[in-house]
């Protein structure tokens, strides 16, 4: 399993538009990715309802992971995305 951690930069956390942008990026990657907040339970990162239900706020640390062998580059991109202020984009 490949993992990355990221700190949420979006000023309102991973709700609304940032959550939508992030989950769509995951869905587009075609790779099964999970996301967890802190030590909490992991949910499907392509699910906007799942991601929203984690209640991720600005500054929270999250872990994204995948069992896919080719997930490295994708996880790098996604982690970088979480590190940007998506509200401002």
């Amino acid at each position: 399993m490949t993992e990355r951690t990221a700190q949420i930069a979006s000023s309102h956390g991973l709700h609304a538009r940032p959550a939508s942008l992030f989950t769509q990026a995951v869905a587009k990657s075609g790779v099964k990715v999970n996301i967890a907040k802190g030590d909490g339970k992991a949910v499907n990162a392509a699910s906007i309802l799942g991601v929203i239900s984690l209640g991720i706020e600005s500054g929270d640390t999250v872990t994204i992971s995948s069992d896919d062998a080719n997930a490295d580059a994708i996880l790098d991109d996604l982690a970088a995305m979480l590190g940007r202020d998506l509200d401002a984009e």
């Binding site: 709700h15 609304a16 939508s20 989950t23 699910s47 906007i48 799942g50 929203i52 239900s53």
Partner: protein, 563 residues
Amino acid sequence: MPSSSATTLLHGAGIGRGLAIGPVVRMPAPLPEPEATPSTLTPAAELDRASAALQATAADIRARGERAGGTAHDVLEAQAFMAEDPTLADDVEARVQGGLTAERAVFEAFASFRDLLVSMGGYMAERATDLNDVSQRVVANLRGVPAPGIPDPDFAFVLVASDLAPADTALLDLDKVLALVTSEGGPTSHTAILARDKAIVAVVGAAGALELTDGQTVIVDASTGSITASPSDDEVTRAEQTLAERKARPVAPTGAGRLADGTTVPLLANLGSADAAADAVAKGAEGVGLFRTEFLFLDSTSAPSVEAQQEQYTKLLAAFPGKKVVVRALDAGADKPLSFLNDSDEENPALGLRGLRALRANEQILRDQLTALANAAAVTEADLWVMAPMVSTVEETRYFTALGRELGLNTLGVMVEVPSAALLADRILADADFASIGTNDLTQYTLAADRLLGSVAAFQDPWHPAVLRLVGEVGRAGQTLGKPVGVCGEAAADPLLAVVLTGLGVTSLSMSPAALADVRAELALYTLEQAQEFAALALAANSAFEARAAVLEATTAPSERSV
């Protein structure tokens, strides 16, 4: 069923003065909740049904979004993602494995996410209605019935519904809607507010409206609050003539609001953000009678800084040089709770720690806001007035005016929304520089009817003589003490009621900018003396309906005393 040949007449509360003729299209009724009876199919078969319905619904929603374009496209695209959501699909699967039907599993899965979003509050809670809509569509697909929701025929129509929710109207193609008719809801319902905002002909709270049938021709006359179903040829011809005459008439008068005898009644705008200022000026607003500051706070988990607020207030005030701008201090609570102000669960939030009470309990927030306002006033040319929301006592009035003056503000007033404040208006206005009557809340508190509760919407009518008597108390106190009394509720946007209000001693009216033209035109028809006669008629009535009817009758048969 009414036959299509018999003419019937319905009555409700008209919004504005418009007239429309067209065919009825009814809003489909919501689907009943799917029964929780165990499935007679295998879980695998139910799962196939559910998956197919979710996919088909997502595709349908996406196609509608592409047709709609604009903001609706984004809303619908987000809804399509909800229907395709993998977490939701997992949840549905688990429920189907437990023996539920696909319908029930979908219904429950959406409901559990909806409850989650509602519990998160704010923006997420607003998305909960989207989930409901998607859920209904998937269930409709499973049952093979038409999806409920906004009809979208390819002709112009009169939309008939019990009431409309914001989620419905967001997707409504307003270009095709000739008029809105609802059987429920009052003049402050979402439908009424939307109609006023977009200048759509509307009659709300028309009992019997749901018996109108699809395709039936109706004449909707908002000026009389009447709906003529299956009109005679004569009636249609007459209505068409009236429409043609109105079209030919030069657009509503512009300039300052005044009565026929020259009495000035400044017409001001209700605004919710500084961005809307230019539009208000274009529509002839003589200033701002109610600037709601909640938008600065709603999406925040903490109050914005003095600097951030000052920037917004400066932008607003700069749009109205030399003009009056009345800003209301943060009004949180009841229908719009803020996490950092209203933290405790209250059984009756409308009667709880809201308005000035909440600000007082968090005085630093109030101090910051008043400081930001004073700073913005210092660098702009507008005449800034600041008022406190939901004041109920003389002591609260004194608290607010003293604090405002301490922080450098000149003109400080109070909202009169609570009957106690109206009844003691003479003492409150002895201290405050002005009063502004919020008729929506004043009606809610006077008639003890929750503004947000559909089942008591019929009570929410500012024409009620009890409400008007309270308005009269404030008007009289204002005149005795030489203090201005404004109205900034929906009542001010009802042209005829606006005349009655001036007759009760109200000196300025504030409304959504779209309503300004109609109110200006109506005021110009009557003298102050006539307005006072109308006010006396309304006060003498037994009900809101009788009050409106008595004044309407008087307008069509001018009294002998008037010139």
